[in-house]
Amino acid sequence: MSAPVLEVRALVKRFGGFVALNGVDLRVGAGERLGLIGPNGSGKTTLINCISGALYNDEGSIAFEGRDITRLAPHQRTRLGVARSFQIPRPFRSMTVLENLRVPLEYAAWGRAEHRRINDEAMAVLESIGLEHCAQQNSAGLTQVDMRKLELARALAARPRLLVSDEAMAGLSSAEVDEILEILLALNARGVAVIMIEHIMRAVMRFSQRVVVLDAGEKIAEGTPDEIVRNPDVERAYLGE
C-alpha cells in the first residue's frame, strides 16, 4: 500500500457510558477506494464524524498526510483536504445551487482558488457532476438525487484529497445509484482517495478496492470485497448466529 493519506490509530469515542468506537484503526492510501460497512449502529457515522471533526474522539489519534489533525476544528481539516458529504443532505437552503458551491470555494479552497473566477470554478464542478442545469435554482427545491449530487459537489468544491461519502446512495433508484457511482469513480480517477459508507452492497463491492467492516464499535474484518463476502465473522455480524 502507498503512503497513507489518512491514518486513524486506536480511536475511542464514548457517549456517556456507551462506547461507540472501541480502538478502531484505519489506514487509507493515497488515491485509494475504501468501502466502510457494518450493521446499523456499528459506529460508521461516528467514525467519519471523528475524521471530519464534527465530533472529537476521546482517545487515539488521526493523521492526515502525516500531520496530526486530532484536535483541529472541522473547517481546518477541510482546508487541509478532508471533505465529507452528509447522509441526510444539508444544503445551504437560502442559496442557489451555484452559491452553495461558492462557500467551499471561497473558504476551504480559497488559498488555491482563482479569486476572480469563483463562479466559473463552481460551474466547472457542477458540470463534472451533471448538475449544471440547476445552477441558478434554489437548493431547497432539488429532487432527492440532485440533493445527493449537490452534497458531493459541495464536498468536491473544497478540492479535497480525501472524500468521505456518507451513504450518498441510500434511498435512490438503481439507475441513480449507478449515476452516483460513476461520479465517485471519476473523482477517484483524478487522484482523490474515497471512503464510501454504504448499505447497498452491490455498489460497495463494485466500488471498493478494500473493505473495512465495523460491528459494535470495533473493526471485525478488513480485506478485498471477495474476502469480505466469504468472511464468516461478517456474515455473523449481519445475520446473527
Partner: protein
C-alpha cells in the same frame, strides 16, 4: 466601489437622501419633525445592526437594548469626565466599547445554539442595566441630565445638527450592511445561518465569523446609542434599557425581511413612521400594541417579511 449598475443606484440613492436631509434642515423649522425623524433613523440603524447578527448570521439577539444603552452611557460618562468632548469622539468611543462587549459576549455565548444564545443575550442586557442602576457616577437609578452643547456648527439648532449626524450614521450603517452581505464574509454568515455544521465542513471558520458579526452588531448598536443622551437630554436605566427598544430592533427586521440588507430598512421606515403617526394622532401607548400586532401578523403570515412577499410577487409575475 462602483462595480455594477446596482452599485450606482445604491450610492446615488444614498447621496440623494443625504442631500434631501440637508435641504430638510434649510426648509423645515418646526423642531418636532426633527425629533420624529431622528427617532425613525435611530430605529433604522438599530434594525440594521440587529440584522447583521440576527438576520444574516441567524443568531436572534434580545440584548440589543443593552448595547444601545451602553453606547448612550458612554456619552454620559465621557461627557461628565471630560467636559466639552465633541460628539464624534463619543461616537467612536461607543463603537469601540460596544464592539468589544459584542466580541466578549460573543466569545462567552456564541458556542450556545439557537434559543440558549437568545436567553444569554437577554441576561447580558439585564446585567448591564443592574450595573448602570448602581453606578452613581452616571446618575444611578435617578438618571442623569445632559446639557446640550451650545455650538451647533452651521445648523440653526442643535437638534438639526443631531438629525444630520444620525442621518449620516444610518446611511453609513446601511452601506456597511449591504457591503457585508454581498461579500465573501456575508456568504460565510449565510452559510452559518443555513446550517452551521455544513458550513464548518465547507471550510467556514464559524466561530471567527460569528465573533466578527457580533462585534459589528455591538459597535453599530453603540453608535446608534451614542448621540441619544443629547437627543433626550435625560438618561436613566429604565428608558435606555427599555424592553421596547429591544423589541423594536427585532420587530423591524422581521417585518421587513431579514435575509436582505434592505429588509430592516424597509421595516424600520414603515414601523417607525407608523409609530410616530400613532403617537401623535392616537396615543403613545397604542404604538406598542401596533408593533405587537404587526409582528404577530408578519411572523404567522409572511415569515420572510416584506422582502419575501415582494420576491414571491415578482417571481410569480415572471
Amino acid at each position: 466601489m462602483l462595480r455594477d449598475r446596482s452599485d450606482v443606484v445604491f450610492w446615488g440613492a444614498l447621496g440623494a437622501v443625504a442631500l434631501a436631509g440637508v435641504a430638510f434642515t434649510h426648509t423645515v423649522a418646526n423642531e418636532y419633525y426633527y425629533t420624529a425623524v431622528y427617532a425613525i433613523l435611530q430605529a433604522t440603524m438599530m434594525a440594521v445592526a440587529w440584522n447583521i447578527l440576527g438576520g444574516f448570521t441567524g443568531y436572534v439577539n434580545f440584548g440589543s437594548a443593552g448595547f444601545f444603552a451602553i453606547g448612550a452611557y458612554t456619552t454620559v460618562a465621557l461627557g461628565k469626565t471630560l467636559e466639552g468632548l465633541p460628539l464624534p469622539v463619543m461616537i467612536v468611543a461607543a463603537a469601540l466599547l460596544c464592539g468589544l462587549i459584542g466580541l466578549g459576549l460573543g466569545y462567552l455565548t456564541l458556542r450556545l445554539k439557537g434559543v440558549y444564545f437568545s436567553i444569554a443575550t437577554l441576561a447580558m442586557a439585564i446585567v448591564f442595566e443592574t450595573l448602570m442602576t448602581n453606578w452613581a457616577y452616571v446618575g444611578g437609578a435617578r438618571g442623569a441630565y445632559i446639557l446640550t452643547p451650545e455650538s451647533h456648527l452651521w445648523f440653526d439648532s442643535y437638534i438639526e445638527m443631531l438629525f444630520m449626524v444620525m442621518l449620516l450614521l444610518t446611511l453609513g450603517s446601511i452601506a456597511i450592511s449591504r457591503a457585508l452581505i454581498r461579500s465573501r464574509l456575508g456568504r460565510g454568515l449565510a452559510a452559518i445561518r443555513d446550517d452551521e455544521l455544513a458550513a464548518e465542513c465547507a471550510g467556514v471558520p464559524t466561530l471567527k465569523l460569528k465573533l466578527i458579526s457580533a462585534t459589528l452588531m455591538g459597535a453599530l448598536m453603540g453608535v446608534a446609542g451614542a448621540p441619544y443622551p443629547y437627543f433626550v437630554t435625560f438618561v436613566d436605566p429604565a428608558s435606555a434599557f427599555s424592553l421596547f427598544v429591544a423589541v423594536n430592533a427585532i420587530a423591524m427586521p422581521m417585518i421587513g425581511g431579514t435575509a436582505h440588507w434592505i429588509g430592516p430598512v424597509i421595516g424600520a421606515l414603515l414601523v417607525g413612521t407608523a409609530q410616530q403617526v400613532i403617537t401623535v394622532t392616537v396615543s403613545s401607548e397604542l404604538n406598542v400594541l401596533f408593533v405587537g400586532i404587526m409582528l404577530v401578523l408578519f411572523i404567522s403570515l409572511a415569515p420572510q417579511g416584506i422582502v419575501g412577499l415582494a420576491r414571491k410577487y415578482w417571481g410569480r409575475k415572471r
